[in-house]
């Protein structure tokens, strides 16, 4: 009898065969930085501005020569690519810290190159904190995507869930003058929408993608109507909630850069800090998560060992809707301060992409969402510091990266096996 080894992640984590493709991608990016930004880059200085004016501890600006800086970073990037190559040759996965360091350095070089000679310099706190805030709806939408796809239900309705959350939190928050109540009702409303999706998909076996698309159309229709026929008549009493106050966590919020970016935020951001690791833990370290993944990978086997497939799917999708509702609340009372027509603007669809790019794993999905958040900031910021850069092209980058990932060029991407398939108990 052969011994069956059960390893963590064996049921649904992506089994990565080390491939040279990611190493080659790294090497090419390193060469671009070295030559395009460094050796043949822009003459002039870059000022890295580390501190906001409000901060108690002020770090000095760091002024370096642009070509020198990008050349040095380019060389380091190529060295990192070489290390990654060694790992691949030894048939080991490239460690995630190496990829993160690589990404951060490459981003620094890009930012520096863009801001060469610009008087305001590279405002690190501004860029990073906006990246985080703009990524919150994507991250939470992505978590909702993970929670439903891991149990085998494709959730195209994230867009509608975000929009529901944004609308309800704004209206309830304004009417009750209690933003927390607005946030909680937003989560409940979104969860109810998810229940419609879940019951139609699971009990009535309506095509999951069709029902998801139609729920989006329905929510867009209803919120557009209510916005024009109801909210606009008296927006100060209906659609003017304001935002949560920022909560600075004592002591650690004084750490330069990191403190300002991470620990001086609104409650929506802190909740995300809790939800992502919690979801990771539940999915991969608990019995509950193992059952959920079993349902998503092989519902028949799960059913055979006594797991109620329909019920598991229903509750995971519903809870996912709650998380997406929080993401919607983050759009209004966590950032903008009022509801705008179709304000989710396709972020629910980007969340779908983020789920795939992050390979259905909470931490990777969060990193992917941050990449998208960063490009949104970059588009605005690059236009200020270095006009003439074709920012339409920058806009495309994350979508192209996702396409490349889906097409399997950047390592193998595998969805939960039963994702999108109804389970009919036979």
């Amino acid at each position: 009898m052969s011994k069956l080894e059960v390893t963590p992640g064996m049921f649904s984590q992506v089994e990565l065969k080390p491939s040279l493709k990611s190493t080659i991608t790294m090497a090419i990016s390193g060469l671009v930085v070295l030559f395009a930004f460094g050796i043949f880059g822009k003459a002039g200085d870059i000022a890295f501005v580390w501190s906001d004016k409000r901060e108690s501890i002020q770090l000095p600006h760091w002024v370096v020569n642009s070509m020198l800086f990008c050349t040095v970073v380019g060389v380091i990037l190529l060295l990192l690519a070489a290390v990654a190559f060694v790992f691949t040759r030894m048939n080991k996965k490239t460690p995630i810290w190496l990829v993160i360091i690589f990404g951060l350095l490459a981003i620094m070089a890009l930012l520096g190159w863009l801001a060469t000679g610009a008087p305001q310099g590279v405002q690190m706190v501004f860029i990073l904190s906006n990246t985080l805030v703009l990524a919150i709806p994507l991250i939470l939408g992505g978590m909702a995507g993970i929670m439903s796809e891991r149990v085998g239900v494709v959730n195209i309705a994230i867009e509608g869930q975000l929009l529901t959350g944004a609308f309800v939190s704004s209206v309830v928050g304004t009417m009750t003058h209690n933003l927390y109540l607005g946030m909680i009702t937003a989560m409940i409303a979104s969860a109810l929408l998810s229940m419609v999706l879940a019951s139609l998909a699971i009990k009535y076996l309506v095509d999951q993608i069709i029902i998801g698309v139609l729920l989006n159309v329905l929510v867009i229709g209803i919120t557009n109507f209510l916005h024009s026929a109801w909210l606009n008549n008296d927006s100060s009493h209906l659609n003017f909630p304001g935002t949560f106050d920022r909560i600075a966590i004592p002591f650690i919020s004084d750490i330069p850069v990191i403190g300002q970016v991470l620990f001086n935020n609104r409650i929506t951001v802190y909740l995300m800090f809790l939800i992502v690791p919690a979801l990771w833990y539940v999915l991969f370290k608990t019995k509950l998560g193992l059952r959920a993944r079993a349902v998503g990978e092989h519902p028949l086997a799960a059913d055979t060992v006594g797991i109620n497939v329909g019920k598991t799917r229903f509750w995971w999708v519903t809870l996912g809707g709650m998380v997406a509702g929080l993401g919607g609340a983050a759009l209004t009372i966590g950032n903008v301060g009022s509801f705008g027509r179709e304000m989710s603007g396709g972020q629910g669809f980007i969340a779908l992409a983020v789920v795939i790019l992050g390979r259905w794993q909470p931490v990777y999905v969060t990193l992917s969402a941050l990449l998208f958040g960063f490009t949104i900031v970059l588009r605005v910021w690059a236009n200020q510091v270095s006009p003439g850069v074709p920012f339409d092209i920058i806009t495309m980058v994350p979508y192209l990266v996702t396409l490349v990932a889906v097409a399997g060029f950047a390592g193998k991407v595998r969805a939960p096996a039963a994702s999108g398939q109804p389970y009919i108990k036979g």
Binding site: V206, V213, L214, G221, A229, N233, L352, D392, T402, V406
Partner: protein, 410 residues
């Protein structure tokens, strides 16, 4: 069995299949879905209407007004929809009264064309939601030809339409190749390509060498298309209806022939019905996907031509007007059949045409977005409508008995 009885049965099934063709599915259910959509829309209109709310808050003093206000709101709203999209009862003469109908046709044409594209992929078992991106690329092609190239009448228009088709088709082929070669799911690929195409079209519109208007500034906007490239007016200067309607009619006939009559369409349907059986029968499923997505995008390209070559003004990305997304609902509502898509396109076209007069009547036309979504939701999710109306579950249709191959006896 007598021969006479057999003929009757055949006639019956034929009549049924015609209905199928028109509405695809149970007509009673479809009628009830549309009715329910309008009823819920009416509730939305009434509940969020100032006058109704005021009348009901004075219910004690004038209960009659409270009830009549409900009636008047609904009549105003849907009445304006009717006069804005079908027949204007206030017009001087009959022909002027029909002007709203021509507007409905004008709005329906691109919806029908793009809807046919999405419908085609549904029939092949693909969920293509990339019409938005394909229309954007089609617009890029059409705008380049119509503003940068100069040709004689008619030829210019034909070249511009072909350019729209070709550009869109390329965008569809990319999806097809990614789908068939790498197994990437078409839903995610098309969503991504929609964003890429929108950004790309905006980028083109910013480049002075490509599409940016002469003397253009920072806003991404093209020149006016050449008069020679414009889709000509059909009914003279008093009506906005243009040659795009003819394109739509051609598209519908071609779609019907392609899907119902041609071998190509048979292959498409077979793959959509059961891809592995089709594979076993020797059909190259992967190639079929590529062809289907290319053809589907070509229909979206026609919609792009309709949009890009019908307005005498500089184009921006807003000319797409949500048609790519509406096309999905049109295809779903139309059951992916030629006749159904025409009906669905006309309904949604009427909604677009009637919006303006609803606005004038003081009823938010956004309510039509709710009605539209509900109708399609009810039709695509039969359990809802059955539960609401307590309709009996359909008895599973028996498979048609295989017709014995009768060989001429010697």
């Amino acid at each position: 069995m007598s021969k006479k009885k057999e003929t009757v049965v055949v006639a019956e099934t034929k009549a049924q299949s015609v209905l199928h063709e028109i509405m695809s599915g149970d007509p009673v259910r479809i009628a009830l879905s549309i009715l329910l959509g309008f009823i819920i829309g009416a509730i939305f209109m009434v509940v969020f209407n100032d006058q109704v709310v005021r009348a009901w808050s004075n219910f004690g003093s004038d209960p009659g007004l409270a009830f009549s206000s409900i009636w008047w709101t609904i009549q105003d709203g849907y009445g304006a929809l009717f006069t804005g999209s079908i027949f204007d009862t206030n017009a001087g003469n009959f022909l002027d009264g029909l002007r709203p109908l021509t507007e409905t046709l004008r709005f329906a044409a691109p919806l029908i064309m793009a809807g046919l594209g999405v419908a085609l992929t549904f029939r092949v078992g693909l969920f293509n939601i990339g019409a938005t991106g394909q229309i954007m690329m089609g617009l890029a092609g059409a705008t380049f030809v119509s503003t940068r190239l100069h040709m004689p009448m008619v030829i210019h228009m034909i070249v511009a339409v072909l350019a729209a088709i070709a550009f869109a088709a390329v965008w569809g082929i990319i999806v097809g190749i990614l789908k068939s070669r790498t197994g990437a799911h078409e839903v995610i690929v098309t969503i991504m390509l929609n964003y890429v195409a929108t950004a790309l079209f905006t980028f083109f519109l910013r480049q002075p060498g490509l599409l940016l208007e002469s003397n253009g500034g920072g806003t991404p906007k093209s020149d006016h298309p050449d008069g020679t490239a414009m889709l000509g007016s059909l009914l003279g200067p008093n009506y906005n209806l243009h040659f795009g309607l003819i394109l739509a009619v051609i598209a519908v006939v071609f779609y019907w022939w392609l899907m119902e009559k041609s071998t190509f369409g048979f292959r498409f349907r077979l793959v959509g019905h059961n891809a592995s059986a089709a594979k076993a029968a020797g059909i190259k499923v992967e190639n079929t996907f590529v062809w289907a997505l290319a053809l589907s995008a070509a229909f979206a390209g026609l919609a792009a031509a309709n949009q890009g070559l019908s307005i005498d003004g500089g184009l921006t990305t807003s000319i797409e007007a949500g048609i790519g997304f509406d096309a999905i609902t049109v295809a779903l509502l139309g059951g992916s059949r030629a006749g159904g898509v025409v009906m669905a396109g006309l309904l949604f076209g009427a909604f677009k045409a009637g919006s303006a007069s609803m606005q004038v009547a003081g009823v938010s036309p956004e309510v039509l977005g709710v009605v539209k979504a509900l109708i399609v939701l009810f039709i695509a999710a039969p359990p809802i409508i059955r539960a609401l109306y307590r309709l009996p579950k359909p008895t599973p249709k028996l498979l048609e008995p295989a017709k014995p191959v009768v060989k001429a006896s010697k």
